[in-house]
Symmetry: C2
């Protein structure tokens, strides 16, 4: 039995590029589940901070009727890897030439400094030009401190960031890059 | 000029026991702010996990019209102290003789095991009989593993827990106890 070419092709691409087109948050959540299931790391996305205004009670529990989103003062993801505290923020931009700094709140920038002071691992994961880079917190702060620019040029990620390769499982193996940068390449 | 006794008394008690009657979450949040301001530790309560069903847009931003509370699978507080990952759950009970175990979700119990496996510091902070105890995660798991009881007797906290003294600033200096248990008493 023969299948038309296009069906075979479609099936192949589903297997090989199942995560293509998925947004950065989903890729990271899947990767974090992979790491947790295999007992590699415990890293979670923090719930979105929400201010709750009104609730009502039902037989199944409380239901929220009114709430609003709060500005985060820490980063999106944190957890525990190889006995170390790890925290990062994930952002994607459709800009081709640079990453606008308004994506990171001033409180979050202060927080990055504090995590470094307290000997934690802290970085950004930025998707730009369809590529995902890890940018170490200290390297990010160097940029902020040395320039008045409102955005980080793409070339800065290429030169000072670390490319995280997209693969099947986990879709974004960012801890491999963390091993290289923060643990001297040992895993 | 003389004030009636009861007014003087009231003023004194406001100064000395300003935090008396405050719930455990507030005491911990104030303590965590104290630790952060003095550059001692970075520990935060995680936002309550909420599933958002409906939102609408206003000139001031998104407003949530319907949402529900999700069951937490990690613990309420986590952060970074002296270069180490720290995570804990805080609960108060009005029961006088024991702490009911249904206060801690099965997912959270699994999570406590994992944090220990990954070399993090993990514990419970339990307010019972108007006293606040820190109970190490491993000691908590020993109880769970060795008994089929549905609650931890008060005496277990007295024997195996560590009393956290309430004071003025910070209202609950639990990191002093953390120093004793996890850092060999050095601070």
């Amino acid at each position: 039995m023969q299948y038309p070419n296009n069906i075979v092709k479609k099936k192949t691409s589903t297997v090989s590029y199942g995560n293509r087109g998925m947004d950065l948050e989903n890729l990271l959540n899947l990767s974090n589940s992979y790491y947790e299931e295999r007992n590699i790391a415990l890293i979670f996305k923090k719930p979105t901070p929400v201010g709750i205004v009104d609730v009502h009670y039902t037989t199944k529990g409380k239901v929220i009727d009114k709430a609003y989103f709060k500005a985060p003062s820490t980063l999106d993801y944190n957890g525990l890897y190889r006995g170390k505290y790890i925290e990062f923020e994930a952002k994607e931009t459709k800009m081709k030439t640079s990453f606008p700094l308004h994506n990171i709140h001033p409180h979050q920038i202060k927080h990055i400094r504090k995590v470094i002071d307290h000997d934690g691992i802290v970085f950004l994961v930025v998707k730009i030009q369809q590529l995902v880079y890890l940018l170490d917190g200290q390297v990010f702060l160097s940029f902020i401190d040395q320039t008045k620019r409102q955005s980080i040029p793409y070339s800065y990620f290429v030169e000072h960031g670390h490319l995280i390769k997209e693969k099947i499982d986990p879709p974004l193996d960012y801890l491999k890059v963390v091993d290289q940068i923060y643990f001297g390449g040992n895993s």
